[in-house]
Assembly symmetry: C2
Homo-oligomer: 541 residues x 2
């Protein structure tokens, strides 16, 4: 027998973790070492992630430590930066010390999934939330609570209405589950806010197709549509989200929905490290053969899950579900074992057992082995199947306890804001939108990346146009430097993208980077003089 | 009867929440409205916070929504920015829109607690963690897991030892509970890391006094000391933490402990909004009379909890514990009711029932009504008392379930990294410490705030001194601009403070702030030329 082979698995989702588990099962420790690279040290039970929004499942109960799921696999908790297929090594991101780490392999499994990609759509990166990771789920939950807390103390009716409007883009499984959980949570939590009890919350689900749940049969999809509509969820078909600002969602049909909460389950692409791989792609995914070997690297590299373009025996593309990823993982693990043992490879032959989707509120839809079920029986089935499928006993017990617990006590609405948002953020504005009003508190400096805005001053009941600012210009620094409220209103003149620098970061930069501080101080002086002049002119009028 | 009075409570800890609850109980809705300002929408059950480190208690089970604890109180989820005692209003931080919010009051309750204050000690702000909030606890837990994951893949023995060394400063209740939970967690979680099983972790507790637990009698304290020492925790008495870098803790005795994890439970001061109040202070806290009225504002403003200097009947200062804060809250609420009803006020007379401290691992120490207990009986008593004292039934049930659950399954060690750390951070270096090594991956740009460093280049087995950099100088930008690894080693020449700008923020600033980008580009060009010259010289030697 040859020397011990090194198997490297990239990604800790269903594909990666189940491949490592199957490899541990069928290979002797003397045959191969197994390593797995993942950014987190946990694996996420993705199908139950929407339940984290409403707190049906405890924050940590939806995840399991990878080290416990794959005890014989070496876990490297870093990010994959570069894959060198020719020289057979993978470069990972730095840890505490910025030391470069290169991990060699004999056999490679690529299971890096897909990422949200909002590129090219105005305002999407800044103002639309994706829903893929535990961090996304917790961040959405915290945002929903923030929105409720703000709505409770907001005196303006339109602002309150905007705060209580929620837009979800994409009517597939994921989008439907998110809008269902979201509306359940908001409607329940609202009861704790005395002023909001009588207010109606608005939920909008926008979908490009002519019915939701394209994964299911039409009959089932229509049932789901009716049920969601009955709960007050507006479904907008044959339309899609094409833009967003911090104040509204813009649809293709021209409709604009004022909202502070826009979630998208739609666009996805493979991660950047896979984009640059010198191998064949198919439908923007990695091209593999029937044995799931990467085209051009047969016998050395396998790809599976959402990052690979895989077909079932009948020639249909496999959907991005857990049941397919786990079966692909088994095929990949067996073929690697076959390669090590010089045995023939076998193709992926799974056709899918059925489809299940939760609609929240004790309801679900299912199509299993040709049988359609909906409503409460489907919901029970959905819970039972997903509970049985949890790989760790500990996690299964915790989830069962969580589900039992909410029968006794309603889910709470504690916000888990862990870190103050800081650093440099971006915002997108449409023409006519107000960035801030004269008299507002100053907590950010804005730098214009593209577009223009008007600076307006209110005095003696009259509004004066003071200046128009363009790319590279700053505004908002006066309030920070002099610690007073905003002395003018800023309104976007064109579509405008701005950079936000927080007060604390601004202060730090101003003190420590002389060039930065000087630029701001000069600007503040010029502005101050210009303002004085404008003030005098206004007074003269 | 007069018009309805407005009572405003600042702070949502034990003092604030229990005052609001008592006010709700004794005042009729027609007598007064009650508002409470707190940054978070939840109240933290502080005594159990250390258990979050090891996952004994679920992350969200240590908190309760304030709205459910005080249903009749209006909660304003903002930060207190300014208190105007003369004109009787409080200004709060901005929400979604930067609108200024001023909240008027007739009666004010100040219960803002204390904050960690590391000012004046070199490196403390940057490298020492405080342990006060839920965010601190979760952040510490995540850091511990990160340290274990890094130690597992670290080939260097000294680095690994440093990663597995943990320093806790302050041997009062809080410090002792933190070091106990921390060592429990590390020793248990280590078992999941194949390479760490045989490694010894090191725990150091440093305390200024001549014995730990100054709150307890000597006999009990010595018992606790012996117990912790038996578990392998080093206790350094009559010493204290005087400095820190990212690589080590520095003690007053001159001893230096290489470590990546330094937690302090020691220094505290009142929040900035209270610092600037024009009222009498005592021991750097707000001065109040026996009725807990703020000196100079009797009948209008009350202060309690950790931000007030309060004495028991026997003249001893009250310790910062939950049992005292809740009793002070009752006194304050009754005195406000008395003020509204024109009745006489009554003084604070509570002396304390006893003292309880957990030592982790089924052990605790207690002194109750003069009786001393330690070990397992004290631990049972500790759990029972704290469980009974949880104000919400839901939370009590969850905590009991959590405690029951860990008897069946060991706590997990899932890391909950929610947001990538970004923005501008600071680091502190002592002379001789290396900032980065030639060949490291570049992921930050450094700006020197104070101090100097040497730039060293290794070539052909020889190290050449290229330059000395001082305040205002940058380094590390070459690797980012050209996307290569570091081309030199940077070593601190003196005590040095630097500013870190992350790669992503650096790129953003470079593109969008012309002055910033220009400064860097010029610098990079100069450096590049200088390097070439130095390289030529080195080659010529």
């Amino acid at each position: 027998m040859a020397t011990k082979k090194r198997i490297l698995v990239l990604g800790g989702g269903f594909g990666g973790v189940y491949a490592a588990r199957e490899l541990e099962r069928i290979l002797r420790p003397s045959e191969a070492s197994i390593s797995l690279i993942n950014q987190e040290n946990y694996w996420v039970y993705q199908p139950l992630l929407p339940e984290v929004i409403s707190g049906l499942i405890g924050l940590t109960d939806v995840v399991s430590p990878i080290r416990q799921l794959c005890p014989r696999t070496e876990l490297v908790m870093r990010e994959v930066e570069k894959i060198n297929l020719e020289q057979k090594f993978v470069t990972v991101s730095p840890g505490f010390r910025a030391r470069q780490l290169e991990i060699p392999f004999d056999y490679l499994v690529i299971a890096l999934g897909s990422i949200s990609n909002f590129c090219g759509t105005p305002g999407m990166v800044e103002h639309v939330r994706s829903f893929r990771t535990v961090a996304d789920a917790i961040s959405l939950r915290n945002h929903l609570i923030h929105v409720l807390e703000e709505a409770e103390i907001e005196p303006d009716r339109d602002q309150r209405r905007k705060l209580l409007t929620f837009v979800v883009a994409g009517g597939g499984f994921s989008g439907v589950e998110v809008v269902a959980e979201l509306s359940d949570f908001i409607n329940k939590a609202k009861g704790n806010f005395p002023r909001l009890r009588a207010e109606e919350a608005r939920f909008v689900l926008v979908h490009a197709g002519d019915r939701i749940l394209p994964e299911m049969s039409e009959k089932i999809a229509l049932f789901a549509q009716k049920l969601l509509a009955k709960r007050g969820i507006e479904i907008r078909l044959k339309d899609r989200l094409v833009g967003a600002t911090s104040e509204k969602a813009q649809f293709k049909s021209g409709i604009e929905v004022p909202s502070k909460t826009i979630v998208s389950s739609v666009p996805s692409s493979i991660p950047p490290a896979l984009h640059v791989l010198p191998c064949a792609k198919e439908n923007s995914r990695l091209k593999v053969n029937a044995n799931l070997e990467l085209a051009g690297y047969e016998g050395v590299v396998w790809a599976l899950g959402d990052c690979a373009s895989i077909k079932t025996l009948s020639g249909k593309p496999t959907p991005p579900t857990a049941q397919h990823a786990t079966r692909e993982a088994t095929t990949v693990a067996r073929n690697i074992a076959a390669a090590i043992r010089n045995q023939p490879a076998s193709p992926f032959t799974f056709e899918g057992l059925g489809k299940l989707g939760s609609l929240g509120h004790y309801s679900a839809v299912a199509e299993i082995l040709g049988v359609r079920i909906s409503g409460f029986p489907a919901w029970l089935l959905w819970r039972a199947i997903y509970l049985v499928k949890v790989p760790s006993l500990r996690q299964r017990a915790r989830i069962a306890l969580d589900w039992f617990f909410v029968l006794l006590f309603p889910p709470d609405f504690v916000q888990m804001r862990l870190i103050k948002e800081r650093g440099i953020a971006r915002q997108h504005f449409e023409p006519g939108e107000v960035v801030f009003l004269q008299g507002d508190l100053g907590d950010n400096v804005y730098v214009i990346e593209s577009g223009e805005c008007d600076v307006l001053r209110d005095a003696d009941g009259k509004q004066t146009h003071i200046a128009t600012l363009g790319p590279g210009d700053f505004f908002g620094e006066m309030a920070l430097i002099n610690d007073v409220s905003r002395n003018a209103t800023i309104r976007a003149r064109t579509t405008m993208n701005v950079l936000l620098v927080s007060k604390s970061d601004f202060d730090t930069l101003k003190c420590c980077v002389p060039a930065f501080g000087d630029a701001f101080r000069k600007l503040a002086k010029d502005r101050s003089e210009a303002n004085q002049k404008a003030g005098n002119t206004a007074a003269a009028n």
